[in-house]
Amino acid sequence: MSDVVHDFTADPLAWRPYLTPVVLDEATPAQREALKETPSNTKISDYVLVLAHDPESLGQRTPLFNGIMYGRGGLSRAERELGATAASVVNRCIYCVSVHAGRYISLAKQPEVIAAVFDGTEATLGARDRAIVGYATRLALNPPQATAEDMRALRAAGLSELEILDLTLSVAVFGWANRLMHPLGEAIRPGIHPNAA
């Protein structure tokens, strides 16, 4: 299909599921309960409505995801987004990349860091960004590839233990999110799909 996007971008995209989303008006009480965490003032996305086919896992996942990505203290929002972006690049979740690369750029104002992640040229980055992206990439690809050398680089770049924990959690939770969003749907150009996420 010609509107499918296959290349990494930080520009907004939409997402089209391969499975039929739950229809809100027909949702069971358990599905409605699991959907409650989604703010009522925003339209519930097709992504969340696909996950609502299994309300038990959705109900557990939403608060954990929000706590990891938006909880106060520890690693900055921007650097959590950088870890999320690096993991999403490894897993080629084009839609996830567009969202989280875009958030990183709006928070950190450093599009060149995202460009390096897209190109695999993170060796050119400063020590802190290089340590974050390198660890995130290896942990996302295959956990045993992350090593004590990554820990040394993160600590040498000034990350506290709490910041390293938050980075680990953000990369891990995108190992989760990428395995839902990419296998269950595809990234498409936005604007012409009234039902897209």
């Binding site: 391969y18 499975l19 039929t20 696909v50 996950l51 086919h53 299994d54 896992s57 959705l58 996942r61 490894v90 897993n91 080629r92 979740c93 942990l139 996302a140 956990p143 045993p144 992350a146 090593t147 004590a148 990554d150 820990m151 040394r152 600590r155 233990e161 390293i164 924990l165 680990t168 959690l169 990369v171 891990a172 939770v173 190992g175 989760w176 999110a177 990428n178 395995r179 839902l180 990419h182 296998p183 269950l184 595809e186």
Partner: protein
């Protein structure tokens, strides 16, 4: 069962390779929509756990 095992291996190890055809293969094997979502959540949650545990082990190891 073969279709489910194949899908678990694919999504656990190389999710970047997943395409629309992989979901269609589960549907063709008779896996219901709710079960496809449950299976996907299970694979994805274990992938989360493995990365969290690996990171915690590295953090806890002697510097």
């Amino acid at each position: 069962m073969a279709a489910i095992l194949r899908h678990v291996d694919l999504i656990a190890a190389t999710p970047r390779e997943a395409t629309r055809a992989d979901i269609a293969a589960l549907q063709a094997a008779g896996v219901a929509t709710g079960d496809i979502v449950r299976l996907s959540q299970l694979i994805a949650f274990v992938s989360f756990q493995l990365r969290l545990i690996a990171g915690l082990r590295l953090m806890g190891a002697a510097p």
